[in-house]
């Protein structure tokens, strides 16, 4: 009798312990680290991150990031998260090169690593891209060329020269123009705005002084078109100079209405956030992404998978959106 009691008590305790272990193993954390917190683009991404968390009961999702767009600060945030022992990291790197060792460390500790906008990242398991960067840059450039009548001086902006994707868009645009539009002349390409609308405004004003006959601007960072638009409005040039570039509908609404910005292009950061978290979950479940796979997210329904520069893979969707004055209101972010 006594022995039976002890046995059942032991068994119960064992079950309890196993139950706790199971519960701990079940609730997994995916942390998304963005370039900078508090800007509309990454607020929209956070909506996707949260949505994924509510859709998947076994997964806890959260988003964080540095207060300044400084690679050093982002590195610190990721180091702290590794110490926190999260299960998966979904990162939008400011400078992929600077994060190589920390990603290596994360993976060596069994943390799954997914990146976005960093197809040159070696130490990552999966890098997700909304689309082919060069094709996206060319597409914006085609719209710009049409607006400019395929002739005249134009220039391109990037957030910073270290931002791989911005540089690829600018170069994709330049290559497109060089191939298709011989009358278009690229001047002062890849001006850096430091991802700052005020800086973009100052740089645009400088360029307008330097090239009074400039006909087009291709923005890189999502705030570049805002600064350019403001500079054009002040100079009374809206409608006379064409502006196309990456931008958020909510932020650019005013300038789209006034004509200072002719059109914007973007991918929905919410879908990108969803895609990163979805892939992180696949990795946590011991699966991976295959060519042609449907992630169940708009624009990522037939993804292209290629080998990455390191041991990982690069997943590319077709998730771009063209918007202008006529249709930007359909995108509430």
């Amino acid at each position: 009798m006594n022995r039976k009691l002890i046995c059942s008590a032991l068994a119960l305790a064992f079950l309890g312990a196993a139950g706790t272990l199971y519960a701990q193993g079940k609730q997994q954390t995916i942390t998304t680290v963005v370039k900078i917190t508090g800007i509309a683009w990454f607020d929209r991404m956070e909506a996707g991150v949260k949505e994924f968390g509510t859709q998947n009961a076994g997964i806890k999702t959260e988003q964080t990031g540095p207060g300044q767009a400084d690679a050093a600060q982002q590195l610190r945030v990721i180091e702290d998260l590794i110490a926190k022992k999260v299960d998966a990291l979904a990162v939008v790197p400011i400078d992929p090169a600077a994060l190589e060792p920390v990603f290596k460390k994360a993976m060596s500790r069994g943390i799954k690593v997914v990146t976005h906008e960093a197809d040159n990242q070696k130490n990552t398991m999966v890098d997700v891209e909304a689309f082919e960067n060069a094709a996206y840059g060319a597409r914006i450039n085609d719209r710009l060329a049409k607006c400019m009548g395929e002739a005249g001086k134009w220039t391109s902006f990037v957030g910073s020269l270290g931002m791989q994707s911005h540089v690829q868009w600018a170069e994709g645009g330049a290559a497109n123009a060089a191939k298709k539009y011989p009358k278009m002349q690229l001047v002062d390409a890849k001006t850096e705005s430091n991802n700052d609308a005020t800086k973009a405004y100052e740089k645009a004003k400088e360029l307008l002084r330097k090239h009074p006959d400039i006909k087009g601007f291709q923005g890189g960072s999502s705030v570049d078109v805002l600064g350019i638009g403001r500079a054009l409005e002040e100079a009374g040039l809206q409608g006379k100079v064409c502006v196309f570039g990456t931008g958020l509908p909510s932020e650019t609404a005013k300038y789209l209405e006034s004509g200072a910005i002719n059109g914007i292009a973007f991918w929905d950061p919410k879908d990108a956030g969803l895609a990163m978290n979805k892939i992180a979950k696949l990795l946590l479940d011991g699966k991976t992404v295959t060519d042609g796979m449907d992630l169940g997210i708009k624009g990522y329904d037939k993804v292209k998978v290629t080998k990455g520069p390191g041991g990982g893979i690069v997943v590319k969707g077709q998730a771009w959106v063209d918007a202008d004055k006529s249709n930007y209101k359909q995108y509430p972010f």
């Binding site: 917190t37 508090g38 959260e62 964080t64 990031g65 540095p66 207060g67 300044q68 400084d70 690679a71 050093a72 600060q73 590195l75 610190r76 945030v77 180091e79 702290d80 998260l81 590794i82 110490a83 926190k84 022992k85 400078d95 090169a97 600077a98 994060l99 190589e100 060792p101 920390v102 290596k104 460390k105 910073s160 020269l161 270290g162 850096e192």
Partner: protein
């Protein structure tokens, strides 16, 4: 009196460390004092702490002394070494020679940059804030020009990577470097004739001149040493990121100045304590890591740092203990 004052500040800083660590440990359920987190914090605090020591030394030297070029110089040192050294030593075949070359060249670049600062300030009679603002732009410009703005990838070199990422008896190597520099600077400031002269120069330059202190030589030496410290930080950064880039740590300068001011260093010169700087740097680090661990926004962190600075200034200006009886026996 002075000794007593400084100790009070040290007590405040140590108390802040203890409070933050205890709070963070309680909130995170012990995760905060986990060895992984302690190592991660130790690795992080070093580069910023070393940059802060450089700013502190410049500040102590007086005459509005400050070195705004430290972060730019740290990055320039890493960029130059990252570009030049692979031409002489192969990182794969001769990793140790590569690492020694990298360290040596970085230190050389740092010393040269610091020397320029020192000569501009001592011989050129330029205000330190303007001279180092100028060289900050110069160093940044050089680093951008050399690299076209992109990162210099150094790749994985075991010996170099060890400097920033490995541990010795469970203590991160960069943290050991930081402690060694704190100890060295603390000793030099307090016990060596150089330190005593530097304090006098910062407190009363006229008296220092009449006392026959070679002002120019002292200034040149101090700023050159600042440059070397910047280069050491640059080496740690390059090792921790296996790359070098002109804009890494663009937020560091303000944090370094914050660390220095919070450490009780007098902005007008003549006083500063290495031990206080150490605890000032660790306070900021444990706060920052605690917030990341608990998941609090980095904007809140900046606010908390600001509040801490004000509290720290208050603690050095007023004796907070004077308020104690008021709190204990209200009414």
């Amino acid at each position: 009196m002075k000794e007593w004052f400084s100790d009070r500040h040290l007590v405040f800083l140590v108390a802040m460390n203890v409070v933050v660590v205890l709070l963070a440990t309680a909130v995170s359920g012990g995760l905060f004092i986990d060895i992984d987190n302690l190592q991660s914090m130790g690795g992080q605090v070093s580069e910023l702490g070393i940059l802060a020591i450089a700013v502190m030394l410049a500040m102590i030297s007086g005459n509005g002394g400050i070195d705004l070029s430290v972060v730019a110089l740290a990055n320039l040192a890493g960029v130059v070494a990252g570009l030049v050294v692979p031409h002489f030593f192969s990182p794969d075949d001769a990793p140790v020679a590569f690492t020694l070359g990298f360290v040596g060249l970085s230190l050389l670049v740092g010393a040269a940059g610091g020397l320029i600062n020192g000569l501009l300030i001592a011989r050129g009679r330029m205000t330190p804030i303007l001279a180092t603002l100028g060289t900050q732009l110069l160093f940044t410009g050089l680093a951008v020009g050399l690299t076209n703005g992109s990162a210099v990838r150094i790749g994985y070199v075991e010996a170099l990577s060890a400097i920033g990422n490995e541990t010795l008896f469970n203590v991160p190597i960069p943290f050991l470097i930081f402690i060694a520099i704190v100890a060295l600077v603390g000793f030099v400031l307090k016990r060596s004739p150089f330190g005593i002269r530097l304090f006098l120069m910062g407190t009363n330059p006229k008296a220092a001149r009449y006392a026959g202190i070679p002002e120019n030589r002292m200034l040149v030496f101090t700023y050159t040493f600042c440059g070397i410290l910047a280069a050491i930080a640059g080496i740690i950064i390059a090792s921790r990121t296996s790359s070098a880039k002109w804009d890494f740590g663009s937020s560091y300068l303000m944090i370094a100045i914050l660390t220095v001011v919070m450490a009780g260093v007098k902005p007008e010169g003549g006083y500063g304590r290495a031990l206080c700087l150490f605890f000032s740097a660790t306070t900021l680090q444990v706060m920052s890591s605690a917030f990341n661990l608990v998941g609090i926004s980095s904007f809140f962190r900046d606010m908390a740092w600001g509040a801490l600075l004000l509290l720290s200034l208050a603690s050095s200006r007023f004796d907070l203990r004077a308020f104690w009886p008021l709190i204990r026996s209200p009414g």
